[in-house]
Symmetry: C2
Amino acid sequence: MARHQKPLELKNTRITDSLFGHYVDTVSEIMVPYQWKILTDQNPETEPTYCVQNFRIAAGREKGERKGVVFQDTDLYKWIETVAYCLASGRAKEYEAVVDDVIELLSEAQEADGYLNTWFQVNQPDDKWQNLIEGHELYTSGHMFEAAVAYYEATGKSRFLDVARKNADLICRTFGCGEGQIKGYPGHEEVELGLIKLYRVTRDKKYLEQVRYFLEERGKKPNFFEAEMKRRKKPTFFPEFMNYDLEYSQAAEPPAEQTRAMGHAVRDMYLCAAMTDYAEETGDQKFINASRAIWDNMVNRQMYITGGIGASGFRERFTTDYDLPNNTNYCETCASVGMMMFGLRMASVEGRADYYDTVERALYNTLLGSVNLEGNRYFYVNPLEMVPEFCTSHTYMDHVKPIRQKWFNVACCPPNLARTIASLGQYIYAADDEALYIHQFISSEIEGVAGETEYRISMDSELLQNGKVKIKAGLSRDGVIKIRVPYYGNKYSIVVDGIDTDPEVCDRYMIVRLPKGESHIEIKFEIRPRWVSARDEVRADAGKVALMYGPMVYCLEEADNGKNLTGIYVDPSETISKVSEIKRFIGRLPIFEFEGVKLINKGVEKGKLYGLPKFETENKKITAVPYCMWNNRGIGEMTVWLKSRIPV
Amino acid sequence: MARHQKPLELKNTRITDSLFGHYVDTVSEIMVPYQWKILTDQNPETEPTYCVQNFRIAAGREKGERKGVVFQDTDLYKWIETVAYCLASGRAKEYEAVVDDVIELLSEAQEADGYLNTWFQVNQPDDKWQNLIEGHELYTSGHMFEAAVAYYEATGKSRFLDVARKNADLICRTFGCGEGQIKGYPGHEEVELGLIKLYRVTRDKKYLEQVRYFLEERGKKPNFFEAEMKRRKKPTFFPEFMNYDLEYSQAAEPPAEQTRAMGHAVRDMYLCAAMTDYAEETGDQKFINASRAIWDNMVNRQMYITGGIGASGFRERFTTDYDLPNNTNYCETCASVGMMMFGLRMASVEGRADYYDTVERALYNTLLGSVNLEGNRYFYVNPLEMVPEFCTSHTYMDHVKPIRQKWFNVACCPPNLARTIASLGQYIYAADDEALYIHQFISSEIEGVAGETEYRISMDSELLQNGKVKIKAGLSRDGVIKIRVPYYGNKYSIVVDGIDTDPEVCDRYMIVRLPKGESHIEIKFEIRPRWVSARDEVRADAGKVALMYGPMVYCLEEADNGKNLTGIYVDPSETISKVSEIKRFIGRLPIFEFEGVKLINKGVEKGKLYGLPKFETENKKITAVPYCMWNNRGIGEMTVWLKSRIPV
């Protein structure tokens, strides 16, 4: 299994990109302090979260009721994980002491047997591990493990890792098919990912074995969740679980037998990422096969053009093939994070660059679009079509917000975004025994080892400006750099140390062999704005086109194009011109302009709803902006998909 | 107030129409027996409803738990009301004895003080009148009153009326602003309608006064429901009430101050119908003003072309102006019934025929479309666009079914449909001191009195075949017939007793003065199939057209046009031809054919979701069928709105 790609250590990564560099700065400069204020109830603009206070109560430092959602603890864990990644790259140093204090608190709150979950410790001490469908105890532990490993790797301090191991050991004792053990598994997958990370850092095989147990036990007959639901009769935490179905938590059949993306999108992604991780460690092919089938189903039948997933606004879940409504959708930020995690692991195991096409799609569009430019307002739901007036609360549109929010009652997304941006390096570079991999064209610097060669890379990417990517590579001995050929970049030229080259391409990587010493690679991708369409079965997009440029999806905003965007028609054969940038935006992103028409119906009497059709058109200059920049200029209409004029 | 129109007594109505006659037959021959079997748990194909059994338990005839939804009793009341209307028109005679037995049972179940509600009597005897938001006690009583009045009017038997009055008297004692009274009002309006009917038949003013109390107390500050929700903290019956808002039950402000359709659509319609009823009895103008404003908002901003209302699939409610999605919508059958009730009352009070344009729209489309041709399968939700594969349960489409159902857990719609069809005469004819009114062109015979003239009318309508309506009228003395000029029928010719006539038109009624004796009126409306469009603000219908013919909305079905109906484009200037009928359908309804094109995208690689747009078109003969007939030929795609080719 030695050929699998591994991400490089974050320590040695520096993101210098004009677009992503901004967001990376934002994480340490804005998000970490902002979110800390929120977690400690020091932000006057948002409701108290009680997040840190809950730990103080569990630790006995304060008295009171444990408040917030049942999995509130995870917000803190994800925040610590974010700080850890920042520290690894030399940022947010002032928070190391803060985290050390928090770790002290966690360790105080932990029970003698390793149990640590503020909800159950304070509010329902007798009900531990009883509500696996809704209780999120294992999920919460998983985030603890991920944070603990990240902090250990960033700082070398093992205190938090000890807490995590103690908790993990308890889980290993508690869950299994032995006598007195609970023959169950998590309602929300995540603990598997945490356990794998613990295994990788400790090499303690029981953590890996526990992952196997969870993966193989899940969905077996007689069904554990079916029995649990029957026993509890009613949902405890989430009223919408009244009509619970096993598919929701990927428990209708064993994961290894699943062949399509199903149920709650975040859960499914975490499960798949864990399956792939487990397969990477063990070579267990049945999990790779299942992961590949689910990935293919998702990407080719259930994924939005923005890399969003989860078409159903109700229960945040996958629906069925080609059902991709643009305005009632969910496309949770966390689901795209999960998809990136899954894709990274698939690429690692299968060695195919195309997984990164999808990772890139989610990263450039849904992920960046979920946060405002300042880094302190967030989307949980990422629609592809917005009419602000239609976002009526208490209706079918209740979940869709026309503007990014300061925080959420269920606040999984902002810290998940933060930890992903803070660890962006893992999505850009990887290494195996043979080569160093470049997966994304994001300006950055790293140092890393592949095989016996040390690489020092400095990438200067102008992919979105002119398609040019310059890579300066310093190698300690002869080596190989494999560079992903993105799906939109099949036409390119490459110059290595001044010489036109035509490198071999394998598994969608161009293979560039370099001698010891410094080399300069210059790639020029021919990328132009292009119209994209969906297959006919996607009813929501029938007869429509969307504009893309490289990995970026574009959209129309009311700020540039006025109201009633659904009345706009474009002709995909019209010339698209690049116009000057929009000052409010960042990253020197191109803005595009083209001719279109706007349909106006003059057949409906004033004040009436319906009338005879009397369609007239007016010519209109249309401006498209990157989807990830939308809603940074006030509330307004937005649409990704545009009606196309059809051939006459 | 003597000039208000009143419906004629149903006793003297006979529906002979080729379309509606079928449904009227179906009510007495199929629905009444089928529904009785269901209510008494004798239908092996559907889950037990426990409906009649609940009354047996409440009456002490059986032991056991009271099962089904909290307002299950109303299914029985609506069924009795249906039987009463059947009996009034000489149908379903074999059920009179059955109803008499049931009434005996009800009277046994009723408590000494008049209380009668099987849920609370059996399951929560100490919690009566405590949960007004969700408990539906007043709602249930309202349906009891409506049924009792109908049965009394049909049979002259007063036993059920006595039960109802005893219950109504208890309500009058219980609710009010006096000492010891509950200062509350119903969460689901309906009792007001029942009380008005009780008042009309008994002339007991306290019932009318109680209606005034409920209408005026509702939405007052401090808000009763706000306090109740605070007191109860959690919803009891409906988990989705967790995030309850006052608008849902029209309680955010007093009804007389409301200016738009809001909240749960059925509730709003029942409230408005009651306001209008109350205003008719009392002349209280503030309620008329509110009703008119709400009606106008609904019809001109929140109503589907099919007469469906309630755009939100979540919470069955109104959303906001112009938000009219075609596939996730609710358009509950009961909401359209409520709208018909509201429209009838508005027409009665205001004397304007145009209210019946909307009543007719709901009747011909949503109402008839909600039941299959056999009368034993029902839609609760009436979508305007259907892709059967997308109706995934447990998702945002959970509420939308691709095929009519045998029954429902919440089974309000089937009996509501039945009672409406069984009392169809009230929507066709009315009378005031001056004239007899003809509102719908549905073949039928009636006898009625207007002022001092007796009318014997026989209408033979071929409106949907050739626009011809023949009316034979026998008058006991000189009189006036006012005939509605429908919005689609402004061009017409009229011949009275062989003479071309050009009658005065006032408030959209043509006023035909007739002498004593027999007269023959022949009207020929010039109606042709026509394309209709929505105003630009209706984003869901932008650039689309729907085909109508008279009051009937047409749709495309997969059975005639294949799959991917969203890929079809039509040119509204193309000729539409009438083709031979479809045998499976009834009522000699025209089927239309026209040329269209189907868009096929050849730019997406096999197995992929997205690609470059490479749109090609193929010419296609399109067939449109009446919306009310859809889904009578198996499961398949359906759409009302079609993409229009736009002018080049």
